[in-house]
């Protein structure tokens, strides 16, 4: 009996490898996806019963508890959770492992902005073959759209980062500043704060590609559009220009603390009130609680400032999916854990630990919305963040080589932070550099 099943599995695997290979040879950009291997729910169940070890690369801390509970439920399965670096450090390692063909994890955390690059590089397994299509409606629209590329589903959303305004209420109260509801008010608040206390800044920024693209996203800009191998880049469109105009005022008047995010100075500034606000993704509360424990009770969350008064437009900032690299050894088992962590019991475990969900069920639950955060002075933070998730502007897309594009952001746009170059000139230089790279990589860029 066992032998028959094993041979069946082996032949199924052989078939899927063969189809995957033929898919890799086929021209890309086609909508129908012949490369998707078909693995039924029964195969996944069989893999769970058979057991084995899977390697997961992720820096998301809440996954640790998911691993514990998954292993308790399926004692034959061992999940090795490895932190191979955060963000691009992990992508570099992953790309190298894929290129070398060994040491590739069975599951990898990949941020939404980086997913198209890996999907296009044919490094990831199309999950539609696993029946991931049936999860439609499980996830919020923004993240769900982000994991789909070229007709395939290349990951499942793990968390999301609809943006909000995190502000230090103590600082605002001391200087009698009202919480800004529009970007004009935000600039005014920046001026007032810095005039009142020359050591205090409204926020920090040393040139952050993720933040900039999210801001352009909220301003309804669509600088990148991708259709197969045709890429359009326009970092001077209305939305981009709106952002550049706003942020240039803060740059020119030196109202931004020249401190890099996630640096020691940043945490210090967030704690002592010299960095008074952060416009950032909804995954921030857990980071504030652990990284800026000293400022407990000072911080509050408000909706993201708007371009037009009374609006409710927001954008996603960060947020990651879990994806199955093609070169991973145990795809069926990896999918079982993937589903468990992103769409089944794992979600609740992660949300309880402070993660911001990408699933409708959790977002809409009363327990989630009414949870009071002692760190934020008892504020029901998730109500603000949940609203933000509903207001994400649709139609955004990243470049299919966004990881590279972001890596050269400071070479080009960064100039605006340290010299007389304007932000719009910087964006133009970024556009040119991205277009050059795109052409070199064989895209049709216009």
């Amino acid at each position: 009996m066992a032998i028959t099943r094993r041979t069946f599995l082996r032949s199924a695997a052989a078939v899927s490898v063969a189809t995957a290979a033929s898919g890799a040879l086929a021209a890309c950009g086609t909508d129908d996806n012949p490369s998707a291997p078909t693995v039924s729910a029964n195969d996944v169940q069989a893999a769970l019963e058979k057991g084995g070890t899977i390697l997961v690369w992720a820096w998301e801390t809440t996954l640790k508890d998911v691993v514990t509970s998954f292993q308790a439920k399926y004692p034959k399965v061992k999940v090795e959770l490895v932190n191979a670096g955060t963000g691009d450090k992990q992508y570099t390692a992953l790309q190298n492992a894929i290129k070398a063909g060994n040491g590739v994890p069975d599951l990898a955390q990949i941020e939404y902005y980086a997913l198209p690059q890996f999907a296009l590089g044919k490094s990831l397994t199309d999950l539609s073959g696993f029946g991931a299509g049936s999860l439609d409606g499980t996830f919020t629209p923004g993240p769900w759209a982000s994991v789909k590329a070229g007709g395939g589903i290349f990951g499942l959303p793990m968390d999301s980062g609809p943006m909000a305004l995190f502000y230090n209420k103590k600082v605002f109260d001391t200087h009698g500043i009202a919480v800004p509801a529009t970007w004009d008010e935000y600039v005014a608040a920046a001026k007032k704060l810095h005039a009142a206390d020359p050591k205090a800044y409204i926020t920090n920024d040393t040139g952050d590609a993720g933040f900039t693209t999210s801001m352009i996203w909220q301003a309804a800009g669509k600088p990148f559009s991708v259709d197969g191998t045709n890429v359009k880049i326009n970092l001077a469109d209305t939305g981009s220009a709106k952002f550049a105009g706003l942020w240039q005022q803060l740059l020119t008047d030196k109202l931004l603390a020249p401190v890099g995010s996630w640096s020691d100075g940043w945490y210090k500034g967030l704690a002592d009130g010299s960095i008074a606000t952060l416009v950032i993704g909804a995954w921030m509360p857990a980071n504030l609680e652990s990284g800026v424990a000293a400022a407990k009770g000072d911080w509050r969350v408000a909706p993201m400032p708007q371009w037009t008064a009374g609006g409710n437009a927001t954008a996603e900032n960060g947020g990651s999916s879990l994806a199955i690299p093609k070169a991973g050894k145990n795809n069926a088992l990896a999918y079982a854990f993937l589903k468990y962590a992103t769409a089944e019991e794992g979600v609740k475990i992660r949300v309880d630990k402070g993660a911001f969900p990408a699933t409708n069920a959790e977002l809409k639950s009363d327990a989630f919305a009414n949870k009071e955060f002692p760190y934020f002075g008892g504020q029901k933070v998730n109500q603000v963040l949940g609203q933000s998730a509903a207001g994400v502007v649709s139609g955004w897309s990243y470049l299919p080589f966004q990881v590279y594009a972001n890596s050269i952001f400071n070479d080009t746009v960064g100039k605006a932070y340290v010299s007389s170059t304007t932000l719009s000139d910087g964006l133009k230089a970024w556009q040119d550099a991205c277009a050059k790279y795109g052409k070199e990589q064989g895209f049709t860029v216009s």
């Binding site: 890309c28 691009d88 570099t92 790309q95 190298n96 290129k99 690059q117 296009l120 590089g121 040393t206 040139g207 191998t229 603390a257 020249p258 401190v259 890099g260 640096s263 020691d264 100075g265 210090k268 299919p400 080589f401 990881v403 590279y404 890596s407 050269i408 400071n410 070479d411 960064g414 100039k415 932070y417 340290v418 010299s419 790279y437 070199e440 990589q441 064989g442 895209f443």
Partner: protein, 303 residues
Amino acid sequence: MALLEPPAIKRTGKRRQRRSWTGWAFAGPFMAVFAFVFLAPIAYAIYLSFFRTRLIGGTSFVGLENYKNVFTDAQFWSAAGRVTLFLLVQVPIMLFLALLVALAIDSGRLYGKAFFRVTVFMPYAVPAVVATLMWGFMYGNRFGLVANINEALGTTLPDPLSPGLILASIGNIVTWEFVGYNMLIFYSALQVVPKTLYEAAEIDGASQLRIIRSIKLPAIRGALLVATIFSIIGSFQLFNEPSILKSLAPNAITTYFTPNLYAYSLSFSGQQYNYSATVAIVMALLTMIVAYAVQLRSSRKER
């Protein structure tokens, strides 16, 4: 030697063959390791440099096109120009300081000779990564030493991490790191100079300066050359310091700040392994040419 040759010719082919195999048996293990560890990576880099891998279209043979691109690549040449400037300014300062310290310690007039020798050499024992992080903290004008000085004295010192000063700041770190190392090379060369020469010079009434100029410096010419060539190679390979400072000064240090950093970004963020290999090869050739030119020039002087 020539006298021994003729009998060998008379011997049979078989015997000669065996002789040559014996030689290989001795040289073989070395040759194998040498080929595997030294030649293979170079050959592989050269092989890579003839191809191009793209996200769309895969890998194709492009001949010398990558090389052609390097020669018109403004980013590469700006990087090469930057390390050349670094070489022309930082290396003379560093070697001069190292020489000064070596001569001072060697003069025997210094109190606490061993203490100074160890202290000056110590920075070399600090890993470059740690040294750079340490200096990075000092350079910080918000939370670092510069900030503290500004606060205590009410001054506004220029930001060492600004684009205009970053190269000088890196030069300062590298000088701090390597003065001791070069000093040790010079000092050990000075130790070999026979003391009788100094005595003879003193009897002739030569001043200390004269002794330095006419005895000490000519005596350590070889060491000077070695130190210079090491420094040239080191400058062209500048990587650790800018790579670590990049997180503190992301807008001042570009991804193509030095040729090595450029090759690194090309291959690790751009996935352009082929072009990166080409950049590495071109830079290696440039380094060899400059180092060889320096050696040629100074050995000609010696004659």
